[in-house]
């Protein structure tokens, strides 16, 4: 690029970027390091940086006390399931808002977003009671449904912004070519919006994976996901700091890897289609 940026400015920006990145990453780094320490070392008064007695026993202990793989499986089912279900509902909804808007479309979009402004605890009791009566407490189905519902506004908003960028001419051409609504969406809209749909999918898997409030309140043993798994290791005495770290590391590792491999898509997703 032929922009006139002095070397000093470049160095300055680079240092600042690294500093911010390290600052944001430091808690995760601390968790990673602590996971390989003994409990005693983890709570020592003069904290150590690198583990002095490198150990894997925390991971074994964690697996012994609580089944990691079962929770990981639940996390995958709930995050992937709720995202797919959300896309199934969100794609037609976003189609209608982007390509067949009415006077009220903007209001509906704002209303959907406004549900995200309410603290979740505000609807805890009604939802808990509904779940209890429908026997959805501590089931994967129930958790998937609630996760779909809380992420649906974001899914629809993201898809809506992507769909808005697709020229309606092309969809109209499909209609003229004999495509009914289903074919228009499946053969023309979805392939054209695929990058946007992929970003939406990734972001929502991550959001659902990390969701803790509803998971912890609506599940106990059977349907608990990895966030419930972590919380079961937090103890007021702090004697489980190393194990808690090990559990956290195990819980975030899969999603961290997925995020790492899909960085490009994610950046697009988080900028809501602003960058082409």
């Amino acid at each position: 690029m032929a922009r006139n940026v002095s070397v000093q400015t470049k160095i300055g920006f680079t240092i600042a970027a690294w500093a911010i990145a390290l600052l944001l990453f430091s808690p995760i780094l601390w968790v990673v390091l602590t996971a390989f320490k003994t409990e005693a070392e983890a709570i020592a008064n003069t904290p150590t940086f690198l583990p002095q007695n490198f150990t894997l026993e925390n991971f074994g202990a964690v697996q012994d006390r609580s089944d990691y793989f079962k929770h990981a499986f639940n996390s995958i089912v709930v995050s992937v399931g709720s995202t797919l279900l959300g896309l199934l509902i969100g794609i037609p909804a976003a189609w209608a808002m982007a390509f067949a808007p009415t006077k009220r479309t903007k209001d509906v979009l704002m209303w959907m977003l406004s549900t995200k402004m309410m603290p979740a605890v505000g609807v805890l009791i009604p939802i808990y009671l509904i779940f209890r009566d429908l026997r959805l407490l501590d089931t994967l189905q129930g958790l998937t449904i609630i996760m779909t519902l809380i992420n649906l506004p974001i899914i629809i908003w993201m898809l809506y912004t992507y769909f808005k960028e697709i020229p309606i001419d092309i969809l109209e051409a499909a209609r003229m070519d004999g495509a009914e609504l289903y074919n228009e969406i499946v053969h023309v809209l979805i392939p054209m919006a695929l990058p946007g749909i992929a970003s939406t999918l990734l972001l929502n898997v991550i959001l659902a994976w990390n969701e803790a409030f509803w998971t912890i309140t609506l599940t106990s043993g059977r349907a608990g996901t990895l966030t419930a798994f972590i919380s079961s290791f937090s103890s007021p005495q702090g004697l489980f700091l190393a194990k808690l770290s090990a559990a956290s590391l195990l819980a975030i590792a899969p999603i961290l890897l997925m995020g790492w491999f899909s960085q490009k898509q994610l950046v697009r997703g988080l900028t809501f289609g602003a960058v082409k």
Binding site: D169, E172, A173, A174, R175, M176, D177, H187
Partner: protein, 334 residues
């Protein structure tokens, strides 16, 4: 197959009436052009026929069958868009095959028809490319190929050539006319280029503010314009209009003379209009003289390429008396 009738079709967007009331009969196999100034409702009318917009009231008949409420996919019409509207994620082959796939044609039929369309439109060597790797003219051909494979009842074109450069436009204009002669399918073609309208159409619909000003053959419109609007719109350069006493001499509110219907001289013949040449535009074959006529204003005169008038010369104009168009106060032809 391919007659299109509109009966008292009206269209409003919200409170804004775009098409007050149109009735039209387009015959099977006809090439009809919709012309009119920008914003007069040409595209809207075409989209109503296509089914891409709903009518506010009125009836649309295709081959005598009421299709007013039918979705575009069921109307059996094909459309070529100004933006081409190709499917960017599909190859040229898949673009052309798409309507056939939607019609659930067999694989052999699809292959045969796509090959045929590609050969007709000189696209055979581009079949495996994506639209983004094609030139404007090639893209337009793909759009036409996609329209012809399904053998529609009628083709609808919305300014299909306006994104092409001048030379290519002339070429494509000929190709579309040829295609019409070959297929003999009804075509409706929207343009604001009156040269396209005159050269391609069997009949022209002149639209103004959502109303049909006149519907007739190109020469009809040129020779017998129904009103001042059509007279001014059809023909290039535009007809010259004169109001006041000069018009009263012809028992009219205003009169019109086409640029090609003047005699020029350097001699002061009594009864002629005296003027001074402003700009002389030399086209080689023709020359357009812009003449400031005393008391009547600026007039455009078309004369041959060898004439000798230039800026500042005095000129005496005699309008051809047999070709003066007369209009009443409401602008209707008398």
């Amino acid at each position: 197959m391919g007659s299109i009738s509109l009966r008292n079709v009206k269209k409003s967007f919200g409170d804004v009436q775009i098409i007050p009331d149109i009735s039209l009969d387009i015959k099977e196999g006809e090439f009809v052009v919709f012309v009119g100034p920008s914003g007069c409702g040409k595209s809207t009318l075409l989209r109503l026929i296509a089914g891409l917009e709903d009518t506010s009231s009125g009836t649309i008949l295709l081959d005598g069958e009421d299709m007013t409420k039918a979705p575009p996919a069921r109307r059996g019409l094909a459309m070529v868009f100004q933006s081409y509207a190709l499917y960017p994620h599909m190859t040229v082959r898949d673009n052309i095959a798409f309507p056939l796939k939607m019609a659930k044609a067999s694989k052999e039929e699809i292959d045969r028809k796509v090959e045929y369309a590609a050969r007709t439109l000189n696209l055979s060597s581009y079949l495996d490319r994506r639209p983004r790797a094609l030139s404007g003219g090639q893209r337009q051909r793909v759009a036409i190929g996609r329209a012809i494979v399904r053998e529609p009842k009628a083709f609808l074109f919305d300014e299909p050539l306006s994104n092409l450069d001048a030379a290519l436009r002339v070429n494509m204009r000929l190709e579309i006319t040829e295609l019409h002669q070959q297929l003999k399918t009804t075509m409706i073609y929207v343009t604001h280029d009156q040269v396209e309208a005159m050269t391609m159409a069997d009949r022209i619909v002149v639209l103004n503010a959502g109303n049909v000003e006149q519907f007739g053959s190109p020469l009809d419109l040129y020779k017998k314009p129904a009103n001042r609007f059509v007279a001014g719109f059809i023909g290039s350069p535009k007809m010259n209009f004169v109001d006041g006493p000069e018009a009263a001499k012809h028992n009219a509110h205003s009169i019109g003379v086409r640029p090609e219907h003047f005699l020029l001289s350097r001699e002061n013949i009594p009864g002629t209009w005296k003027g001074t040449v402003g700009v002389a535009e030399q086209l080689g074959s023709d020359t357009f003289l812009h003449v400031h006529v005393d008391g009547l204003g600026l007039m455009t005169i078309r004369t041959d390429g060898d004439q000798t008038f230039s800026h500042g010369d005095d000129v005496y104009l005699t309008p051809d008396a047999t070709r003066i168009y007369r209009f009443d106060a409401a602008g209707l032809a008398i």
